[in-house]
Symmetry: C2
Subunit: 319 residues, 2 copies
């Protein structure tokens, strides 16, 4: 299942990057550097990038794009084959006005966001047949306007969205997007079942993002203390129960893998902790609220995730 071996004869995809921050800016810049036609939507960094270009510091090599197709308004962007949603989910109320004009008739929206149920929201705007989900394993920060620092990882898992998240396997358009990203040096994996992949990612995101903010702690501190380590495991088990309520089986071996993986990581400040420390809104609804409500609708309570959800909502509102 190596995308590079897929034969690609169609013309190259064009890309719109909705949100040129730590994530969208990084992937978009890598794609442009690989020769693809990329259109970037910017907000506060627009003037800086027009004047000084887009700067990427990366463990894989620093580079600057002196000139990019930069836009302040979606209305001025061309219709693209692949529209990458790279905003924080806290800005998704903007999507109904942003997406329709920028997606080609046979185009697709690639949702590179955290949490659960976002593809269904996007499908409600653009159509069930036009959405692919992407789960990013990326450690990257915007350190100044138009200046992104890529620290580690970068891999994306792609999965097709269909109505009700019924799995449809690996499609040609997934393979084509994968080819583009692989050309740009980004590792791609395929998920045959997007919903399973989303729940699996929550196994990590829910305990570590939540507790790192609430307890002002790194992943290493949470794993070194017997009480929080136990709480992490219990929260992971609640995610497994939530997935099960949605008909998805997460194996115990996967939970163990996440625990071991985290123990062996460098001490890590989670994305939600970075958002919190920088006074940005927290993605509480996407990462905690949607899974909770999904499980509740399926008749399953997740009381410890609910506890974290309410604590985070409080902290988010105090900001």
């Amino acid at each position: 299942m190596n995308p590079k071996t897929v034969s690609i004869n169609a013309p190259q995809n064009t890309y719109a990057i909705i949100g040129t921050g730590a994530l969208g800016g990084f992937y978009g810049a890598k794609l442009q550097k690989a020769g693809l036609d990329i259109h970037f939507l910017l907000h506060s960094d627009y003037k800086q990038v027009i004047n000084h270009g887009l700067i990427i510091e990366s463990k894989d090599g620093d580079f600057t794009l002196p000139r990019i197709h930069a836009y302040q308004e979606v209305a001025k962007m061309p219709k693209c084959d692949v529209v990458v949603v790279a905003l924080k989910t806290t800005q998704n109320h903007l999507l109904p006005q942003m997406l329709p004009s920028v997606v080609k008739d046979d185009g697709v929206v690639l949702v590179l966001q955290n949490g659960l149920g976002i593809e269904a929201e996007v499908a409600g705007i653009i159509g069930n047949d036009k959405v692919i989900g992407g789960l990013c394993f990326l450690c990257s920060n915007k350190i100044a306007p138009g200046h992104i620092r890529h620290l580690d990882y970068g891999q994306i898992t792609l999965g097709e969205y269909t109505s009700n998240y019924s799995p449809v396997g690996i499609t040609q358009r997934m393979k084509k997007i994968a080819h583009d990203f692989e050309t740009a040096g980004i590792t791609i994996e395929f998920a045959e079942d997007l919903l399973l992949a989303r729940w699996q990612k929550l196994v990590w995101n829910i305990p570590y993002n939540g507790l790192s903010v609430i307890l002002n702690a790194t992943t290493a501190e949470l794993m070194a203390d017997a009480n929080t380590r136990q709480l992490v495991e219990q929260l992971m088990e609640e995610v497994v129960a939530g997935a099960k309520s949605a008909g998805r089986v997460i194996l115990q071996s996967f939970v163990q893998l996440m625990l071991e993986y985290t123990v062996n990581m460098k001490p890590y400040r989670t994305s939600m902790k970075i958002d919190y420390d920088e006074n940005r809104p927290l993605e509480v609804e996407a990462i905690f609220g949607n899974p909770l409500r999904t499980a509740q609708a399926n008749g399953v309570d997740l009381p410890q995730i609910d506890c974290l959800y309410r604590q985070l909502k409080f902290l988010d509102a105090q900001h």
Copy 2:
């Protein structure tokens, strides 16, 4: 049931105060001021109190006791009729060496501490027939060595301890202690069922002490936010479930009363929050660990209290 109307013919009780801090210092000083014979155990404040006396600032009137019976070692204290345990529960590992020598053969230990199950621990040291529990509703701080500021409240609820907390109603010795405290201006209520009273107090202590530390919040802030208010109510319901597992019924009207009472209070920094802010050990085991383990032993999980317990243990260990 007004203790003042009870006829008391026996000689007056003598009292030992084990722990002359914000609580023990306040009650002990009030009793001495009322003419009772009080013996105070001190630790770090001993020299200060010997030289300058015990100073009480109180909303009910300031006073100083220039001279008290002060001790640095229990071994030098006389045997007393009533031995008041006024340490934080985090110091209860000291009790096995402290208590036996200071309790008269027909004396009693009055446990003025927070949380659940402490009387049983003390009974294990001194005998099942020698323990009375007291639940203090007191807002008092030690603001300097030998200097206590009493801010509000002061009432104590007394209940007899018996093996397995089976209720025995109101005894003569309870009435005699109540008489002493009432003489000193302290309001006393009687609990016919000490265990029920302990669980009832946890209805307030668990949500507000826990969340105030974890979220750095006052009671008013916790009640003003819809998410934490809901979490407070859920935690209270878990306390009700814990009590039920121990055969004690807490009425919904009591839960509602605690919520309304808190909404109408001045914004309040809980005792655990004060301990946390002043870098003192937190009473996590007495207030959270013991109720959790009791419920678990009775086959009932309290997942949200467990979540707070583990978060608090982490924060306590980081200090």
